[in-house]
Amino acid sequence: MTEGVLINKNESDSKLEAVIKPASSAGKSVEEMGEVLLIPKKAIDIKLEADVITPDAFAGKSAEEIGNLAIWQGPKTYPLSEFFEVIGNAGSSAAETLIRIKGDVMRVKRIGEGMSAGKIEIEGSAGMHVGTGMKGGEIVVYGDADSWAGMEMTGGLLNIKGNAGDHVGCAYRGKWHGMKGGRIVIEGSARHQLGGGMDGGEILVEGNVESFCGIRQNGGLIFVKGNALRGVGAEMAGGIIVIGGKIERFSPGFEFVSMENSVTSGEVELIGEFKKFTGDYAISKRAKGALYVVADANPEL
């Protein structure tokens, strides 16, 4: 889980201002949506694979039908109702469906996988792979999120109010391309390899990150308000990384370009005194990645 997060978000001393326009959300006000409550019934031993918990799978279904959807636990399948009390009916389409999970689902993996519209609110912490391959809609996690949140997502908004684990918005093991679109907002801190292989979209972190943030990044924006440990932008070939705090150990393959007063990428504009670097030239000589580091927190660079 994420209790091992090395750097606490409260330690961040960044003075950066971020101007971010609101992300396009599900498009429906909550009142019009069919609302489904999922209340965990019992402690879960072997983790569940619950990629059916999406507005797409729930759309047009009654509580009973939703309860009958199959989820995997180890080699067996069970109905969703084995683990959750299901209350309320879904809307007629994914866009009109709101799923509220009332409780901690740290042992439930793949919530919201591949969802295209609608909204999921998790009033607790989410297990691994929340929002993997998400295409649209919105997921709000009020607690922490385990590793691989938003893996290879292409659209939508994933908002994690707590901390996140490793591999947020990353590519699957061995794959070249991670997150391609959409936005991930982490109000706490994240751990290693945030945005690995990222091709597009935005990841915004209020707190800190650990190692290899933006490893093999090709596009998109990673904005970390706090500190980073090391390996930031390792092997990046494109895209933008902004670090608002201190980088503990700076990657050797970057070259200083200029001082900048602001960074703009899509809907995001950041104001502050930045040192701009390009790279990573450690392997490729033609890399086009841009790494912005706040000047006053990194005087030695």
Binding site: A171, Y172, R173, G174, K175, I283, S284
Partner: protein, 584 residues
């Protein structure tokens, strides 16, 4: 009754028996094709009503990489290849995963779903033969065999350089028996050895380091040895400079070397009845012609050189090729040609694995994606189809993707449809980079292969070429009861409706193996036993003894003991030796 079946009223395409779409019945008893079934046998037999459908012998793939160390390296270095393509277990079948390099079980099922029953692994490094056989043993449904990589083998290079043909022949014979393999594979002759020193070879008369042998001498020596022993298959040649712009020239010159080497296939087997001569008449089998056919000097000015080679092959009778088509999408390139893969690594920066197999050969593996927007990839697509369409005689061509190098074998339906449908080619031209049209002759070709041609390219000719036509690739009396029924009505065949063709080829209506129905519309319904073929080549004991003295002397350079080198028969599922060079 086991292995007894009647396939009724289908349009039968059996080129080895010159049957071209006749409506007839096919009867199989105890796993073999028979003339007829008695009334009592018919009562117990399963009957398939194939009216309005196409019936062909079971598919034979003479060149695919589906077992062994490099395939397995491809699997382990590509976790991403496995997580989006997977197969759930059923009460009958095993689970599996992987798209370009599927797990062994999935490979067997996927081939059977498309109507294939026989697949030969194209490159077995001797030291990895045990591993290869373990994977082949675990591959369900398919009858298999494999070619032993011998082009850069220390012993053979020494014997050939010294002109010691007797010992070389004894060595090949012993190696086939020792590793339970079927034919000779020759990859980048003389060049792979140089790769051990970070070098390659670029011309036919350039001698390699230490062994001082040239590609020309290697190709000449191996092709002569092959015929001297009476091997079932011609040497399977992967020519030098593969994948380099301009390589078509050396390819053509390589093909000239075995011209005049008289074929002599000396197999002591029971031959199924065929109308045309089932003996192989080619002295060289050039693998994946497309990859060996680039003209130009760099990737910026490269173009198709297929026409030139096709013209040569059209005028000669000693060459057979397989195409190595690239149907776009994901692939994993893997070959014994280590330097070629290193070039691809420097070109792409993709993850790369390579190995040196001690005194025998080497290999390289790298994931690759053929994209329609890429000019070179589009050209390669066109060139692959040119290989099959510019060579006039279908008995000189075999359809492959060099799976998984050009693309996985599961893309065969696309390739089959492209060669049968000009409309489908036009459709693809409109989607891919204009290089495909500008730098190849494919756009000017309106040839569309018939179902009869297709049966030659995917059954009869691969079987005849590699010397399994005594039981595979035909529906003659005594042939194995391997049959594919496609849901295609030849009377109403419309090549403009290529979607229907694609669908029919992707999932054969029925796949029958040894008289058992193994797949219906792509679903596996039974998993009968499979076989593994290998060549048991006979030479004089005295010759073998002399040769073994040399081998034992040099075996101290191997990392394993001599006694641990051979692959015992227990590693094979139903080992089926083919007796070669038997003195009668």
């Amino acid at each position: 009754m086991a292995g007894t079946i009647a396939i009724k009223n289908g349009y039968v395409f059996d080129p080895l028996n010159e049957i071209n779409g006749e409506t007839m019945d096919v009867f199989i008893k105890d796993g073999k094709v028979v003339r007829e079934l008695s009334a009592a046998e018919l009562k117990d037999a399963k009957v398939i009503d194939a009216s309005g459908m196409t019936v062909m012998p079971g598919g034979v793939d003479s060149h695919s990489h589906i077992a062994g160390a490099k395939v397995n390296a491809g699997r382990s270095m590509r976790p991403e290849d496995h997580y989006k393509s997977n197969l759930q277990k059923t009460s009958l079948t095993h689970s599996g995963s992987g798209y370009t390099v599927p797990s062994v079980y999935k490979q067997g099922y996927d081939y059977a779903a498309m109507g294939y029953t026989t697949v030969f692994e194209a490159a077995i490094p001797p030291l990895e033969a045990r591993h290869t056989h373990e994977e082949m043993r675990a591959t369900p449904l398919l009858d298999m065999g494999g070619y032993l990589v011998l082009g850069n083998n220390f012993f053979l290079m020494r014997y050939l350089r010294n002109g010691d043909i007797e010992k070389a022949a004894a060595y090949v014979a012993w190696m086939m028996k020792t590793h339970k393999t079927y034919g000779i594979k020759c990859v980048n002759p003389a060049g792979v050895e140089n790769w051990g020193w970070g070098k390659n070879i670029s011309s036919l008369d350039e001698a390699n380091i230490h062994f001082e042998i040239t590609p020309r001498e290697t190709i000449k020596g191996l092709s002569e040895l092959n015929e001297r022993l009476g091997m079932p298959a011609p040497i399977n040649l992967h020519a030098n400079n593969l994948g380099h712009p301009g390589c078509y020239a050396i390819t053509k010159d390589s093909l000239k070397i075995p011209d005049g080497v008289k074929t002599s296939q000396n197999m002591d087997v029971n031959w199924a009845e065929t109308k045309i001569n089932p003996l192989r008449d080619r002295s060289v089998y050039l693998a994946h012609l497309m990859f060996n056919s680039f003209a130009g000097t760099t990737w910026a000015d490269c173009e198709s050189g297929v026409k030139d080679i096709a013209d040569y092959i059209n005028n000669k009778d000693h060459v057979v090729i397989d195409s190595g088509c690239t149907p776009f999408g994901e692939a994993t390139v893997m070959t014994g040609d280590g330097p070629a893969i290193h070039d691809l690594y420097t070109l792409t920066g993709n993850k790369w694995s390579n190995t040196d197999v001690e005194m025998e050969c080497g290999s390289g593996v790298l994931p690759f994606t053929y994209s329609m927007s890429n000019p070179v990839h589009s050209l390669q697509w066109a060139m692959g189809l040119e290989c099959l369409l510019l060579i006039n005689d279908p008995w000189k061509t075999i359809m492959t993707t060099d799976s998984p190098n050009g693309g996985p074998f599961t893309k065969y339906p696309e390739v089959m449809t492209w060669i049968m449908s000009e409309a489908f080619r036009k459709q693809t031209f409109s989607e891919c980079h204009k290089w495909a049209n500008d730098r190849s002759d494919l756009g000017g070709i309106n040839r569309e292969l018939s179902l009869y041609d297709l049966a030659i390219l995917t059954r009869a000719n691969p079987a005849k070429t590699i010397g399994v036509s005594h039981r595979k690739g035909s529906l003659g009396l005594g042939a194995d009861g391997d049959v594919t029924v496609y849901n295609i009505n030849p009377q109403q065949l419309d090549t403009n409706n290529y979607e229907a063709l694609l669908q029919a080829f992707r999932k054969a209506e029925y796949t029958v193996k040894g008289g058992e129905i193994v797949a219906v519309k792509g679903d596996i319904v039974s998993v009968p036993e499979k076989r593994t073929y290998y060549s048991e080549v006979h030479v004089e004991d005295e010759r073998e003894k002399e040769m073994l003295a040399d081998v034992k002397e040099w075996f101290r350079y191997y990392t394993l003991g001599f006694a641990n080198y051979p692959t015992p028969e227990k590693y094979l599922k139903n080992p089926t030796p083919i007796q070669i060079n038997v003195v009668r």
